[in-house]
Amino acid sequence: MGDKESSATGTVLFVDSIKSMAESVGVANLEDEAAKELAEDVSYRLKLVVQDAVKFMEQARRTKLTPADIDYSLKIKNIEPLYGFQVDTSTPFRFASGGGRELHFMEEKEVDIHDVVGAPIPKIPADIVIRSHWLAIEGRQPAIPENPPPQSIDLQRSECVDPASKLAKGNKSNGTGSYTPTVGKPIKFKSSEQVFVKQLATHELSVEQQLYYKEITEACVGSEETRRTEALQSLTNDPGLYEMLPRLCTFIAEGVRVNVVQCNLALLIYLMRMVRALLDNQTLYLEKYLHEIIPSVATCIVSKQLCGRPEHDNHWALRDFAARLIAQICKTYNTSTNNVQTRITRIFCTALINEKSPLSSVYGSIVGLCELGPEVIKTFVIPKLKDVGDRLELCLEGVGHTQADKASCVKIRHIIAKYVAPIVKSSRPATDTLEDYKTEFGYLAQVLKTQDAKAPSSTPAPGILRPTPQQSIPATQQHTSSASKPVMGAPPVPVRPTTPTTPTLPKFTVGSNVVVNSSGLQQQVTINLGEGDTYSVPTGSGMSLRPYISPPLPRAPCAPTTRHISVIRHTSASSAVGF
């Protein structure tokens, strides 16, 4: 009888198993005594077979025992192998229990011979081929896709949290040829007594990396769509970008700053696609560079003007796309120490509350907030609906407003119907009439209520990164961007006929002597919200921002809700795949 407490040693098949096996071969009433004898003998023999099968596994340099190993093992014992158990993957045992009995069995379906004969010939398996690459060059592992990323994402993350870990590791990695930038001059660790002096980190890029940077940035903002696709693909997949990240982020930040002023919609879209590519790169951890990325992305959401002809150009798509990016950033990098989400929410709220902010900014901030999830919508968007409604009413029904403003109003109404209405509906009793809505939401009540009627309550609340192509990309423009669809989140290519091919960018020195002080960089990024209405957002990463994040007591309605939201964020983050 099976001895449950003993582990691998001394286990014996259960008498019941023997009995059911006996039944399956037609022996009806096996006596207990006989079954016990059989069980012991069978388990003994099984163990012998497995013992030898393991040898075959070891010799075949595998860690998984296959049916073939068992066959070979039987063969050397002069027993006929069991034919027909050749499975590529693991053996598909099924489990069943009932009546206090547990059973593992293999499901064997009866197969009609005609089906087998008539079945189409299976695809020929791929031929075995050999591919070569450099695992190491003179003791250093090149950062190519074939090799594992030089700086694993966990390491990057721990470096963000604890910069000292890098120095400690420096001792070890020196000489083993890891590809991390050396700190200061390469210090030889011959004697352990040497004092380690921390110097300014100089990130020296190799010639190849400089070339790569040049190529990539040119391709990303250039006019050739195919090259751009390739470049973005490279940004998404290349494992060796870790060292170039500071440059690329600066490039994006500077690019956005210049092009917002020049209202160059196309370039802004290209830059956002770069951000998207970097975010999607599995080997990068961007937390250190959020102080450059977030302001840029936020600018693309709430800026007053993003294009030369706001009434014609589809800058809405850019705002939508950037909003999704910001939501992705929040989802990935929000921690209790950096409070990324709280701060981003605050940016949007400020833009939303401000009565003077242009309607395009209002649109951006609403989209931005909506992308952050239903909880954010409930807390920040719904209370403001009445004010927003008033502004829309004024604009749409009043006179003296530009075509662009009117378009903005339509868009805002649209976005509210899409994101906010389902949530309003679910949070309010179904008995509410239009009148009730009106007292609460004013002008927008009609939109919310009709949306309710149209969309049944089963409509799920929009998720954080729910793709909404039909909203963000007008059908007329879809075809132009279809080529690059797999790479990007499908922002539209602008219809503007004269897309400047060579962007006016700030001067960039791409050389090995560029010194970037990457630690604790703090800067003021200006988000241009319109004439005379600028406000500054101090940004930075982690520690440097603490005084800004934790004011003693924020305004009354905000304080509890932000806390509440951060809790929500945590739960959703933990359930998210990959993080």
């Binding site: 050397i76 002069n78 075995i128 070569s132 450099w134 695992l135 003179e138 090149p142 083993t176």
Partner: protein
């Protein structure tokens, strides 16, 4: 054994077309075990005269008598009346004694020693007393004396099982099995399979060997008895305890079934006692490693006079790439090379070339006067043919371009990933110059890839060959059929998984061993099988060519033997028997005079090809041995096992020099850089690791003494000598090889 019948048939029906004119092997065969291919253990024929050192005189006498009894039984059975009488007289055996002759089957007689009238309850209590005595004894002696816990446990358990106290045995097992050292876990599992007397009789378990030795029936002398090394004080402590407590049971076992080798000196601590433990039969005896081993290299043939008429073959023979390419330094060229499949060497190899070539000659001269080198006539080796000389000269010229590696100057590693081959690839082997790569598959196919632009061509048909002018300079080129050129070729013939491959040094032949119990010799000119060597009765795990000329080769198999063969003889020249379990791997010493074998009994042995004797026994691995590799100077042997440890042994005295713990999974490939300064290891943990070998052996070389015995535990860990560590994404590494220019080639199948 049950399986024997089936395989006997196979072996006898073996058809060897190419063996019409068998030559007598130019070798002293007087000691070899039979031309008939029967696995007669050499050690069984030879009588061992090693003196017993320890306190087991009584057991020696007893077992001798037993041995005589067995011989008598044999004589009686086969009706050798006169001899029987003489033997009786000489051995002074009385009639009454002779009636107690062992029964027909050896096994029965072996096991009968387990018959005892002891009260089964005593086993548990005795063992418990022993255990608590050891636990409470002084730390100095604790671990030394503790070594006997395991063999005593095994014997007590087997005795219980034999005497049909099955329930008692099971409780005994479950009570004490958890107290054994962790590295006996594998043994515990196989011991646990024996639960009944019948199991003991039928079992192919290694423990049967352990028990068979007890009465000395199958093997005279000390071989087969569990060996424990103990300091004198520790032993006397143990003896005193056993006498005081009157633990008859254990006393018997310690006296009869465990061989205690006593040494004078300080008792070993925990680490030292454990580091050499792990072999099924305990530790190596001092006398096992006494024989002198000529580990030096043979004199290299003088090639200075041998002028090569062609000077332009760089492109074809460059280690993994062309010469011109090796000058390139930028990533651009690497990228393009990686995609075309023939990456170029990037080391600036030509720098200080002259200096190096001078050094080369210096070292060669040194080798000439090596006092440890065997006499050139010790083992008859084939004459060098012209083709060998050309190959050697090429290698020499290549070596002039080689980069001398050091921890500051690590090699480039070129990785050849086998795609779509997960779970199918079983073995990968490079030709010495790195131009050919052979892959063995579980599907019994062998595939050869050419890694240079030179294609693999087939010999022309016989009728076409007649037309070729045999005096032409390029006769070798003309012989080949251009229409047949391919970049890779299949060799089909085996009927079971291919477990090993080896290229002959001249790259004209390939040796393969397989699950189908055969070894095949293939021609790489006609791409057909030349000879099937049958002799092993069970799967052949490994077959390797001798480094001299591709005439001798050696094989290791599941039948617990290793064999030495010559390509022109269908039977093995030597059968090396002595391992207690599968011989999993085998490798030739660089001077071809010795072979080293590794086994799943967790020991490494070195055998003398000339005498057929085992000259070194090295214990310490805790899992079955997987790979062996000799250092370039021939003095050190590197072994790896399923315990994912790598151990470095000194052939001078069989001592353990260093142990490397860094690997996380089985290590399946070991390689030395050409000048022997860097050791590379890799395996299933998807990582290639490089070690500073010069530093590892620094002390040993300077002291002129050899590795210390017992090993110095403080020095033994070599993990601080790791100089490089390169992970692959998801490719386990099956093979490592340094090209003549010291570029490290690695390969393995990508795992999905």
């Amino acid at each position: 054994m049950e399986g024997q019948g089936m395989y006997d048939n196979r072996a006898s029906s073996g058809f060897m077309p190419h063996q019409q004119n068998q030559q007598q092997v130019p070798m002293d065969t007087s000691n070899s075990a039979g031309q008939n291919g029967l696995p007669v253990p050499i050690s069984a024929i030879k009588t061992e005269d090693g003196g017993t050192v320890g306190g087991s005189g009584a057991s020696g006498e007893r077992s001798e008598k037993q041995a005589v009894m067995v011989v008598l039984g044999f004589l009686k059975k086969h009706n050798f009346k006169q001899t029987e009488e003489w033997l009786k007289k000489e051995a002074q055996i009385t009639e009454s004694e002779s009636k107690m002759l062992p029964s027909d089957t050896d096994v029965q007689s072996v096991l009968s020693s387990y018959a005892s009238d002891e009260n089964p309850d005593e086993y548990s209590s005795s063992y418990f007393q022993l255990k608590s005595f050891i636990d409470s004894s002084l730390d100095t002696y604790k671990y030394e004396v503790g070594q006997i816990l395991w063999p005593v446990f095994v014997h007590l358990y087997l005795e219980l099982v034999y005497n049909s106290h099955e329930v008692k045995a099971s409780t005994f097992f479950s009570r004490f099995s958890k107290m054994q050292e962790t590295f006996y876990e594998a043994d515990l599992v196989s011991l646990g399979t024996i639960m009944k007397k019948e199991h003991l009789i039928n079992s192919e378990n290694p423990f049967r060997i352990l028990s068979s030795s007890l009465t000395g029936v199958s093997k005279p002398g000390n071989s087969g008895v569990y060996v424990v090394r103990m300091s004198r004080e520790a032993l006397s402590l143990l003896k005193r305890f056993l006498q005081e407590k009157r633990l008859k049971l254990i006393q018997n076992i310690v006296q009869d079934r465990i061989f205690v080798e006593v040494y004078d000196g300080i008792p070993r601590g925990k680490a030292a006692a454990h580091v050499t433990a792990g072999h099924i039969m305990g530790e190596a005896l001092r006398h096992d490693n006494k024989t002198k081993v000529y580990y030096g290299l043979l004199k290299e043939p003088d090639l200075q006079n041998f002028q090569m008429d062609e000077d332009d073959d760089d492109a074809g023979t460059g280690g993994g790439g062309g010469d011109k390419d090796s000058q390139s330094k930028t990533a651009d060229s690497q990228k393009s090379d990686a995609t075309t499949g023939t990456p170029a060497g990037t080391q600036s190899e030509k720098s200080s070339k002259k200096k190096k070539s001078k050094k080369e000659w210096m070292t060669n001269k040194k080798a000439k006067n090596d006092p440890n080198a065997p006499p050139i006539t010790r083992m008859p080796l084939p004459e060098l043919r012209d083709i060998d000389k050309i190959e050697k000269a090429k290698a020499l010229r290549e070596s002039a371009k080689r980069v001398t590696l050091s921890p500051e100057r690590l090699p480039s590693v070129c990785f050849y990933t086998v795609l779509n081959g997960d779970q199918q690839v079983t073995f990968i082997k490079w030709s010495e110059d790195g131009t050919l790569m052979g892959v063995g598959f579980a599907s019994s196919i062998i595939r050869i890839w050419s890694l240079t632009p030179a294609k693999l061509k087939k010999l022309k048909q016989a009728t076409d060959l007649q037309d070729i002018d045999r005096e032409a300079d390029d006769v070798l080129v003309r012989m080949m059929d251009d229409r047949s050129s391919e970049s890779d070729r299949y060799l089909r013939g085996h009927s079971g998984a291919v477990y090993s491959l080896d290229f002959s040094p001249d790259k004209l032949m390939l040796l393969s061993s397989s699950e189908d119990t055969s070894i095949r010799l293939w021609s790489l000119l006609t791409w057909t099988c030349l000879v099937v060597y049958k002799g092993h009765l069970f799967p052949v795990w490994k077959a390797v060519f001798s480094p001299h000329g591709g005439y001798y080769f050696a094989s290791a198999g599941h039948d617990r033997t290793a064999r030495l063969w010559a390509t022109d003889t269908p039977q093995p020249l030597r059968v090396f028997a002595g391992h207690y379990s599968d011989v999993t791997t085998i490798v030739f010493h660089p001077n071809s005079n010795y072979v080293a074998t590794g086994s799943s009994d967790r020991s490494v042995r070195l055998w003398d090809c000339v005498s057929g004797n085992c000259v070194r026994l090295m214990t310490g691995h805790k899992g079955s041995i997987q790979t062996l590799c000799f250092s370039t100077d021939g003095r050190f042997l590197v072994s790896s096992a399923t315990d994912s440890k790598v151990m470095i042994w000194d052939m001078a005295n069989g001592g353990l020099l260093t142990m490397l713990h860094s690997h996380k999974a089985n290590v399946y490939s070991i390689a030395f850089s050409k000048e022997g300064s860097i050791l590379a290891t890799a395996g299933l943990d998807n990582c290639v690791r490089l070690w500073d070998f010069m530093k590892m052996i620094e002390d040993v070389i300077s002291e002129e003494g050899g590795a210390t015995i017992p090993p110095d535990v403080k020095k033994i860990s070599g993990d601080n000598l790791l100089v490089g560590e390169f992970y692959t994404k998801s490719t386990s590494v099956f093979s490592l090889h340094f090209t003549r220019r010291n570029i490290l080639l690695a390969s393995g199948p990508f795992q999905h």
